[in-house]
Amino acid sequence: METALIKYLCRFIKNKNTKTDNLILFRYSFTEWPDVKESSIEATFLQKSSRHRLMLSSLTQSAVLCVSVSSSHLLRLYERFESLDRENRGHLRKEDFQAVRELSMNPVGDRIIGSFFSPGQETVDFPSFVQVLAHFRHTENDRIRDGAQKEPANSTARRLKFVFQLYDQDRDGKISRAELLQVLREMLGMQVTEEQLQSIAERAIQEANQEANQDKDDAISFDEFRKSMEKVNIDHKMSIRFLE
């Protein structure tokens, strides 16, 4: 229900076939985009269509929605989504992502693309697209989130988890040596020998184990990962101004 609405919302804003006299103003909130300013959530809907009105009422009833995003941001993302979705299917495939030239040159590009697709799925629709990008939204530290039942996607923990899962391709909760090696290989390319990669991975794993004073398994667990990222200010690092 919710996801469908976002789609409609964006289509309607996009199509701009709205007329001021028969518009109703309503508030729309989107869970993944925490923003306390409720006044910034304005979207316009056609009053004509009873179907939409129906949806509207059901939406306002769902009090779960406490956080919001300004429509302009959503609109921008939707525009981007549409430009990526060149065949206008309403969802994106892996090929659509790969068509972005810069992304195909990115050493970890495939992983990034993969993070948009939940396991077993071939396509990604706009809401999940937004949900992934929500990790990179900038947070205002000084603002108090009121009534957020769910931890927002751009909290430090969830950001870490997101990055961790980019490493942890088999999703078994730890970065195995093979997985780490794979990442290193992607990032360093052809310039280094396998032996060097091996020793770096070896070292990284040992170090992570040591730092967290944890078991000496041959992998990096999430806790160990978090520990080694403590000094990296991930909140500032993983913020894109565009998504503010």
């Binding site: 990115n106 990055v163 390319g189 020998t193 020793s199 770096i200 000094k231 990296v232 565009f242 998504l243």
Partner: protein
């Protein structure tokens, strides 16, 4: 000569002053001070004799002249005295010597220097020296001559700042810095100038004669934050790098604004009229001055980089290229009245990465030390001269004008910073807090540049020049003394974040790089061309074209992570040795142990005989690696590494040394295994050949091998060790059986070449500390082979 006598006498008294302050020190320091005084006494006696004998010889010459007609032959002078012809260099040397001795003296008194910033003390010394010269009724030499200041004193400081500019934080905060530097300075100039004019008009004294343009000119002189003063003070308060780069960056970049405003108002004040056209031309001129300066700098920077590509056969003059090109950039920019400071900054920043990849480690160390030395001396001299010039100059003290200048400077700065931050914070991810704003506002120190600009004013056009100079000096003294002295306690009081020496782990490095790629990817998906996107583009371009063009081929393909990893291994090895672990290093461990051979659980190595690895480590090599990593590691937004202009390397062992030892003892076995997991290159691998070439210019006749090998080479064996001699012998064979195999990541353990070290357990700690000191202090003993390579 008489003038010099006085000068020297002042030196002497300066030495006495130092002596007095230094009394109560330990014996060796006391002895040093005595020596200093002795030197100065000697210095003061010589010119005395010189003065009398010069006049005598003059008389003799006259006599000789008359005697020519009498055909009497004058005896050949066995000992002649001609002070006149060494006068200038001698005086300059004396000044420099005074500056150096003062600097030395202050560091002997830790308590004093912890309260009062060095810059203040130096000004006081300058005042004393100036006062003494004046007391002796001698003419004070025109020390802070503007020409001398801008041509010789300023460039070293700025080049040092530009060369060691922390690029990453600088670029990340460029918007903010530019905002402060351009808009902030403009605001300051017009606010101060305008209000001063108003005040001058309503006051009933003779101030009413001052027009609006001279006021604005004064405003533009006094509004610019001074890089020299900022550096001197900020270095001592160890503020976090964000604030440091904001204030310091502003002080560097506002030069263009100051130059344009200064020339503009100076011109108009003489002409007396301003039109709209002039205003527009002023704006255009600003763009030309700023961008032109940067362009000149970048051009010379690239030239320097290109030149350094071909210097592999003449390592000795390598450092000179870096200095000459940047000085040329400065001078060329000054020819067109462009911003010389911007040119120097651009030149230093542009040439650094390429030059460092090209030149040898020793040359790099030379550049570093030379820059530090020059800038340090320049800075000292500037502050001393500022003091001397204060005593010397004619002053016309006007209470209203002077006090209002000080007050307006403060007010304008505060309003400017708060107002601009309000705007800037809307665009910043990391917001500037109120504390930050306070420090930025409070750190706006004025300095010698303002004084020199004021000094440049022509008396015949500006009859109020003396008053201006007095006001400028007062503002400078106020900011340097009051603000400079109180900023340190305030920083502590407000608990402003200090800089943190960050020790990075390999994991962090991997993840940070990963995050960079990730963010670039996400930005691409969003279609947002932001920070990461452009950085990525630039990196790609740099890697693809520029590096190939400017850097000796085999060095251009170095992946960052490998460099970092190498550095880590290096550091670990050093620490291992220092913490006593090295004494248990196996002497017979083959240097080419690969991970497959020794598994982590395999601890036989620890029982092998003792060995000391450390003394073989080339200091230059070690620092080189450290530096590469530092430049590569400025990757996060927040965790910014601070740098200190007068400290070459942050010594990782100084603080928490005992902690380190404890930790090391605990983790020794782990470390050992880490250490041994490094696969090393075969002795005759191309990388080894190059490493040797880089460190030893004498062997340049051997062709560097290009094999697409990563470049950071760490070999612990110094060229002196028998091991490496053997390697050198093998080099001949190496040419024949060149392998294209990538053996880049090599870590060479010294073979069985070093002397055994089996200190008793009690001595251990002291021994280690000695080692640390020896490692952190690049004295001649650290690498004794340093002087050899300078043979042709």
């Amino acid at each position: 000569a008489g003038q010099l006598v006085k000068l020297v006498r002042c030196d002497h008294i300066g030495g006495l002053f130092q002596h007095r302050a230094g009394s109560g020190r330990s014996l060796p320091e006391f002895g040093l001070l005595l020596l200093v005084i002795f030197v100065l006494l000697e210095g003061s006696l010589l010119p005395l004799g010189a003065a009398s004998s010069t006049s005598k010889s003059c008389e003799e010459a006259k006599q000789g002249h008359t005697e020519v007609h009498n055909f009497t032959k004058k005896a050949f002078p066995v000992l002649g005295v001609d002070y006149g012809h060494i006068k200038n260099p001698f005086e300059i040397s004396l000044w420099v010597l005074l500056a150096c001795l003062m600097k030395l003296g202050f560091h002997l008194i830790p308590r004093l220097s912890s309260i009062v910033p060095e810059s203040c003390l130096l000004i006081v010394v300058g005042l004393l020296v100036g006062g003494l010269i004046k007391l002796a009724r001698e003419e004070v030499p025109p020390v802070l001559d503007s020409k001398f200041f801008f041509l010789y004193l300023l460039p070293p400081i700025i080049l040092d700042a530009g060369y060691f500019l922390p690029i990453r934080p600088f670029m990340e905060n460029l918007g903010t810095i530019l905002m402060f530097a351009v808009i902030g300075t403009l605001w300051n100039a017009f606010f101060i100038g305008g209000l001063l004019y108003g005040i001058c008009q309503i006051s009933n004294s003779d101030l009413t004669a001052i027009g609006i343009l001279p006021c604005l000119l004064f405003g533009s002189i006094i509004s610019a934050v001074d890089p020299v003063a900022v550096l001197a003070v900020f270095e001592e308060i160890h503020i976090n790098e964000l604030l440091h780069i904001l204030v310091f960056g502003e002080s560097l970049l506002n030069d263009a604004v100051t130059v344009v405003l200064y020339h503009l108002f100076e011109e108009f004040s003489v002409d007396g009229s301003v039109t709209v056209l002039d205003g527009i031309l002023g704006v255009i001129s600003f763009l030309v001055v700023a961008l032109g300066g940067v362009l000149f700098g970048a051009m010379y920077g690239f030239l320097a980089a290109l030149t350094s590509r071909f210097t592999s056969h003449t390592r000795v003059i390598e450092p000179l290229f870096a200095f000459l090109y940047s000085y040329m950039a400065y001078l060329s920019a000054e020819v067109f009245h462009l911003s010389g400071i911007m040119a120097l900054i651009a030149c230093g920043a542009v040439m650094r990465p390429y030059i460092e990849a090209n030149i040898s480690h020793k040359s790099h160390t030379t550049i570093k030390y030379f820059l530090k030395m020059l800038s340090s001396v320049s800075e000292t001299l500037i502050f001393i001269f500022l003091g001397v010039a204060t005593v010397d100059g004619r002053h016309s003290w006007n209470w209203i004008f002077v006090t209002m200048s000080v007050v307006l400077c403060l007010v304008a700065r505060v309003i400017g910073v708060v107002g601009l931050t309000f705007i800037i914070n809307k665009f910043r991810i990391v917001k500037l807090t109120t504390k930050d704003q306070f420090i930025i506002a409070y750190g706006g120190l004025r300095g010698a540049i303002a004084f020199s600009l004021g000094f440049l004013l022509k008396e015949d056009h500006f009859h109020m020049r003396d008053m201006f100079l007095t006001a400028i000096i007062t503002v400078i003294f106020f900011t340097v003394f009051v603000q400079g002295m109180t900023i340190k306690p305030l920083v502590e009081l407000l608990a402003v974040k200090k800089k943190q020496e960050a020790k990075r782990s390999i994991n962090e490095e991997i993840h940070t790089q990963f995050l960079d790629h990730l963010l670039t990817g996400i930005e691409d998906i969003c279609g947002h061309y932001g920070h990461h996107h452009w950085k990525d583009k630039l990196n790609r371009f740099n890697k693809k074209y520029v590096k190939k063009f400017l850097i000796v081929s085999e060095r251009s393909k170095e992946p960052q992570l490998i460099a970092f990893y190498h550095k880590m291994e290096m550091k670990q090895a050093i620490q291992l040795v220092e913490s006593g672990g090295g004494s248990k290093l196996p002497s017979a461990v083959p240097s080419t142990v690969s991970m497959q051979n020794i598994q982590p659980k395999n601890p036989p190595a620890t029982t092998k005989p003792a060995e000391r690895v450390l003394p073989q480590l080339s200091k230059g090599r070690e620092e080189e690696i450290r530096k590469i990593l530092r430049s590569n590691l400025q990757r996060t937004r927040q965790r910014l590494h601070s740098y200190n202009r007068h400290t070459l390397v942050a010594d990782p062992y100084e603080d928490g040394f005992s902690d380190l030892i404890l930790k090391k003892q605990r983790m020794m076995i782990k470390e050992m295994t880490n250490y041994l997991t490094v696969p090393a290159a075969a002795p005759d691998s191309p990388t080894m050949v190059r490493a040797r070439l880089a460190s030893d210019p004498q062997s340049y006749n051997m062709k560097p091998v290009s094999g697409g090998v990563p470049t950071i080479q760490v070999d612990l064996a110094s060229p002196q060790s028998p091991d490496s001699v053997r390697l050198l012998d093998e080099l001949g064979e190496a040419d024949g059986k060149e392998q294209e195999k990538d053996q880049g990541l090599t870590m060479k353990l010294p073979g069985g070449s070093s002397r055994p070290n089996k200190p008793g357990e009690t001595e251990n700690t002291r021994e280690q500390q000695k080692l640390t000191r020896c490692l952190s202090d690049p004295g001649p003993s650290a690498d004794e082979d340093e002087d050899e390579p300078f043979l042709p």
